[in-house]
Amino acid sequence: MRVAVIGVGQGKFGRRDDANLRELAFEATKAALDDCGQTINDVDATFTGIASDHFAQQLQPGALMSDYLGVQPGPNYRVEAACATGSAALRTALMAIKSGMHELVLVIGVEKMCEVDTNTAVGYIGRGGDVQWESPFGTTFPGNYAMIAQAHMARYKTTKEDLARVAVKNHFYGAKNPYAQFQKEITLEKALNAPMISSPLGLFDCSPLTDGAAAAILTSEERARNLTDTPIWIDASSVATDTMSLLDRKTLTELPASQEAARIAYAQAKTRPKDIDIACVHDCFTIAEIVAYEDLGFCSPGSGKDFIEEAYIGGRLPVNVDGGLKAKGHPLGATGLGMLKELTMQLRGEAEAGRQANGAEIGLMHNVGGTGHYCFMHILRR
């Protein structure tokens, strides 16, 4: 049975001092329901993606969603997979429809990261690593990806300028996206001269702390045919897992979970990397986008730096033309569903002027949790 995305929505990503966790979720849910002309009463089940209870200072946030979104007394399942939480919720919802247990579902991803101060938030995210053996050394997520960057630079001669070029590209498109956290272009010089966060990653190599939500309405093929003329089909859904600790990795220049998830997804959708028309990849840090090009087979290992110019619209494969996590923002639980919203708009031909990929038919979304603890991938087709 095929499953369709019939509605998508999001609120503005960014530092949202005007709204809390529940209110952010409501904005996205209302937008997704309006997008497909459904009401919350049409929803059989809700799947809530929230990565951490710590940021919003709210335990059992799933129950809060049931309450504030008007889901009660219907079922609501809370799902978590670090930064890939949104895609994990999407896949769980997909399984529920395919099983026949639910027919029309709401998937909501939300995170309120700016309720706590920056150092506290950095500490919480760092504890997404191995708390027993790594956190005692003050490791952080920028630090972990910085170590991946350092290894990649040493092995493949990737440079800090290459990293900065990813940031320049993603800010170029973020400037065209009214939902993005940073709607401003940056120069290579500005990126290279920014303060260091964790060497060699500077401020513009890192995705920000973000408040935000994104949502989608999914349904079965039969129901979708009755409800919309523009269904977007989920042709593949895959997931792979890998070690928690970087100390257990044989290599630091690739993410084996991404490679495995890609292998499964391409086989399911009967596609090859060159068939993909548009992609959202997990650029939590600039180095992560370069590694993703390589892991997903867009280019050969080590040549990611040569693919950056191909990732603009007009190049071989537009990547992160919504600004990516880098410029659009990275509200952990919402990120995967933000990608789903972006690709749905792109495949419908409804993206904003200046960042619509021409005639895109097949879209790929790649959402990594932790430093490759999880990778979820989906391939969409119009």
């Binding site: 150092n119 053996w133 005692p136 050394f137 952080t140 170590m147 964790s198 600790s245």
Partner: protein, 134 residues
């Protein structure tokens, strides 16, 4: 409460606490599965392959290895703000084990592949691992 590991310990109890106790005596010990002989580092009390109850402790003799990667953390977690910036590195020992520690000095001039040695610092509340360029 036993010994504290590293600069700030978050986990107080573990079946693998012998690693920290040995480190405080300047020995590096870790575990291997008695059944399949796989080596674990950091140590595990359980083998995820065999699901057998037997792991045995052994001493890792090497103190020198090769720098795999490093970073200087400028924006630190709350518990580490007073220490930053600090340089975290991973070195690989001849046994194939990767070990994390703080690199002594700054990252200036460091390159992946450099030779390093492990320096264990015994403090009153527990051991800390440093890495020093040879």
């Amino acid at each position: 409460m036993g010994l504290s590991f590293g600069m700030h310990n978050f986990i107080s109890q573990s079946k693998a606490k012998r690693f920290i106790e040995a480190l405080q005596e300047e020995r590096i010990e870790t575990t291997r599965c008695i059944k399949c002989d796989r080596t674990f580092f950091p140590p595990r009390a359980d083998c995820p392959h065999c699901y057998d109850n037997g792991v045995q402790w052994f001493e890792v003799k090497s103190r020198e290895g090769v720098l795999k990667t490093f970073t200087t953390v400028m924006v630190a977690p709350q518990e580490f703000v007073d220490h930053s910036p600090y340089c975290v590195g991973i070195i690989e020992l001849p046994e194939g084990i990767s070990i994390m520690g703080w690199i002594k000095g700054t990252e200036n001039g460091l390159q992946v592949g450099d030779s390093f040695k492990i320096v264990i610092e015994r403090r009153a509340n527990g051991p800390m691992i440093y890495l020093e360029k040879q």
